[in-house]
Symmetry: C2
Subunit: 142 residues, 2 copies
DNA sequence: CAGTTGTTTTGGGTGATTCAAAACAACTGC
DNA sequence: GCAGTTGTTTTGAATCACCCAAAACAACTG
């Protein structure tokens, strides 16, 4: 299911296939959470002529198509990840701002109470856990 | 408990009492979620000489002292609210970006699974619900 | 293979926030 | 009360992430 290549997935989403798009999706295929600048650096390694603005444009297109997920933890710039579909949550280190994925801890996959609280029609619940990552814990413990 | 005046609460938190600080805390005493600019505008009404930078400084000081809470929903600039202590959550309208408070829906007040996921020492769980507010719902329904 | 549509490049611009130095004001002890 | 010390506010400028627009360009259509 995830054995499709980046170009295939882009085409399947109804988007035009271009080198920058493939490279960006490739860069986000692994784990991790990258900001636009980090994606740009990775893309440049295989496609040195790509501009930062192109990366912003591609990220917007891929996010809109659901091929990439965008998160924006307080205090960080926007981060992008290739893991989509499941509405997993995030752990953010309060010290170094590292981000880790966490599967839904509360039990129900979407972690969503489809209540009508305050007249809102809720469709997504986003959970962010804040704490100290392993590295920062050991450094702080000293 | 909340009958203390703004200056009293500032002093109790170990901070120097100044006119801008009192005015900012006053501006955030009601419900609602204001960005720095909105706080600035409110403060100017009673203290016209206050600078925007002072507001930023005061907000940082009050946030650090726990008298004010800062949230940063994706797509909005930083918002400040006077309601602190309880770790309540937020509803954000995907269309107009209005923010509403919501008490912990999942049951347990802190909504926090103190698990050690991924080596992190979690201390806070932040939940943001995304949906359409009442106003935007009726406008969209047309 | 030419046309159409949409993407990328290039260059500029904006808004939110932060930084730094100097002027100033709140709390301390006298 | 009053001067000193410490920390705050003002003023002015700078930064960072991100967006906008026009022109050059490339992917898919027939």
């Amino acid at each position: 299911m995830d054995t499709e290549t980046a170009p295939e997935r882009i085409r399947a989403a109804g988007l035009k296939v271009t080198a920058p798009r493939s490279a960006v999706l490739e860069a986000l295929s692994g784990p991790g959470h990258l900001d636009a600048e980090a994606v740009y650096e990775r893309v440049r390694q295989t496609l040195p002529t790509t501009s930062l603005q192109a990366v912003y444009g591609v990220l917007a297109a891929l996010t809109g198509a659901g091929l990439v997920r965008r998160i924006e933890p307080a205090g960080s710039s926007a981060l992008y990840e290739g893991r989509t579909g499941d509405n997993h949550h995030h752990l953010v280190c309060t010290r170094c701002h590292t981000v880790a994925d966490v599967d839904c801890v509360v039990g129900e996959p979407p972690c969503l109470e489809p209540s009508d609280a305050g007249g809102f029609a809720i469709h997504t619940a986003e959970v962010t856990f804040w704490g100290l990552c392993a590295d920062c814990r050991s450094e702080t413990a000293v």
